[in-house]
Amino acid sequence: MEAPRQGSMAPGFSLKTLDGEVIQLEDFRGKPVILNFWASWCPPCRVEMPALQAVSDTYIDQGLVVLGVNVTNLDNPAEASRFLDEAGVTFANVLDPDGSVSRLYQARALPTTFFIGPDGVIKKVVIGGPLERPLLEAEALNLIDGGN
C-alpha cells in the first residue's frame, strides 16, 4: 500500500530540478533514500541543510541518496536556488511547483523528512526539525544496513 507513513511504500513522483532535469523517486529503487521537504524561508530547514549535506557526503559511496523537495508553491525558485548555493548543497533538489507532492506526502509541517529503504518502504518519518547530524547518520546507517 502506498502511503506517506512508516511501513508503507513511498508514493512515487516525478519532479524537475532547478536545471530542468527530471527526477523520479523510482529511479532510486534499490538505494536508501532520505527525502526532505523544505522551504528557503523555513529556519529549521536552513539549519539542518548542512547536516544533510554532510550525511550525503559521508555515505554517498555506500549508495545513500539524499533528495530535497522544495515546496515551491509556498516558496520562490530564485530564493531556493540562492539558499542552496549559499549553503553549498550538492545533493539533488527538486521543485514542487504546485505542491502536489507535498500534499501526496502530507508534508504539512516543514521540514518533514522520510527515511526510505532500498525496497521503497518508508522506514521512519520525522516531522519538524532541525534534524541533528547524529539522528541523520544513525537513520542513514539503519537504511544502509537494512539493505545489506
Partner: protein, 248 residues
C-alpha cells in the same frame, strides 16, 4: 499522551488511599517511571548508535523525540518503578490496583494518539462507521480499542449518582488489575482480526490473540487463587479459662 498520563496520575492518586497506598507514593512512582523511561529511551538509542554520537556528543542531550528507543524506555521505566516500590516497601498487589486507573487512561490516550496520526488502523470495510484513511474506508480499530478500554474501566469504577456500582468495592488486593487485564485481553481477541497490521501464523492463528488468551488464562488463575485464599476461614487459637485451647 501527556494528557493521558496526567489524567491517569490524577485518577490513580485520587483512588490510591482506598487501596491502602499513599497517594504521594503513587505520584512519585508514576513520575519516576516517566522520567526514567525517557532517559532510558534516549540512552538506549545512544548506545545502539554510539559510533555516530562520538562525532557529536552534544546530540545526546537533544530534545528531539525521534532519538528515543521505545523498548529501552519501557524497560527502564518499569525497572525504576520496581526499585522505588521495593525501596519504600510498597505492597505489590494494592499498588497495581491503585495504578489501574492510570493504565486505563494511558491506554485510552494511546488510542486517541493512534487515531490522530493515522496509526493502528483497521482493514478496509463497507460499514457506515468506517473512517476514510489512506485512501480507503477502514474499520476504526483505534475507536474500538478506546471504547473497549472505557468499558473495562466502567466495570471497575462505574458510579450511579453517589453510589459506586462497579467492582471498585472489591476488597481483595489484585482483583482490579487482574480484571482490567482480563477485559483488555478479551477486547484484543475480538478486535485483532479487524486490525490491518494483524498477522497470521500458518494462516490460522493470530499471535496477538494467542498472547491475549494466555493473559486471560493467567489472570483467571490468579483471580481464582486470590479469591480462594480470601474465602478460607482463619483459624484462631483462644485460651479458655482452664488453659486449654479452643478452635473456631
Amino acid at each position: 499522551m501527556l494528557i493521558g498520563f496526567w489524567a491517569g496520575s490524577v485518577a490513580a492518586e485520587k483512588r490510591s488511599a482506598s487501596f491502602g497506598v499513599n497517594p504521594v507514593h503513587i505520584s512519585n512512582l508514576l513520575w519516576l517511571g516517566l522520567i526514567a523511561g525517557l532517559v532510558g529511551a534516549r540512552l538506549t538509542y545512544v548506545i545502539v548508535n554510539f559510533p555516530v554520537f562520538l562525532k557529536d556528543l552534544l546530540g545526546i542531550i537533544s530534545f528531539r523525540p525521534g532519538m528515543l528507543d521505545f523498548e529501552g524506555g519501557a524497560v527502564c521505566g518499569v525497572l525504576a518503578g520496581l526499585v522505588y516500590g521495593q525501596k519504600i516497601r510498597l505492597a505489590f498487589l494494592p499498588t497495581l490496583d491503585a495504578l489501574t486507573p492510570a493504565l486505563a487512561a494511558l491506554a485510552i490516550a494511546t488510542g486517541f494518539a493512534c487515531l490522530a496520526v493515522g496509526e493502528c488502523y483497521g482493514i478496509p470495510t463497507t460499514q457506515p462507521w468506517g473512517i476514510l484513511l489512506w485512501g480507503e474506508l477502514r474499520h476504526p480499530t483505534q475507536v474500538y480499542l478506546i471504547l473497549a478500554t472505557v468499558a473495562a474501566a466502567g466495570v471497575l469504577f462505574a458510579r450511579k449518582g453517589n453510589r459506586i456500582v462497579g467492582l471498585w468495592q472489591a476488597d481483595i488486593a489484585g482483583v482490579h488489575i487482574l480484571v482490567f487485564m482480563f477485559l483488555v485481553a478479551l477486547a484484543w481477541i475480538i478486535i485483532d482480526p479487524f486490525r490491518a497490521s494483524s498477522t497470521m501464523l500458518a494462516g490460522v492463528f493470530r499471535p496477538v490473540q494467542i498472547l491475549a488468551w494466555v493473559v486471560q488464562a493467567v489472570c483467571l488463575a490468579l483471580l481464582f487463587r486470590l479469591t480462594k485464599k480470601a474465602s478460607i476461614p482463619t483459624l484462631e487459637l483462644e485460651s479458655s479459662p482452664s488453659g486449654q485451647s479452643n478452635r473456631e
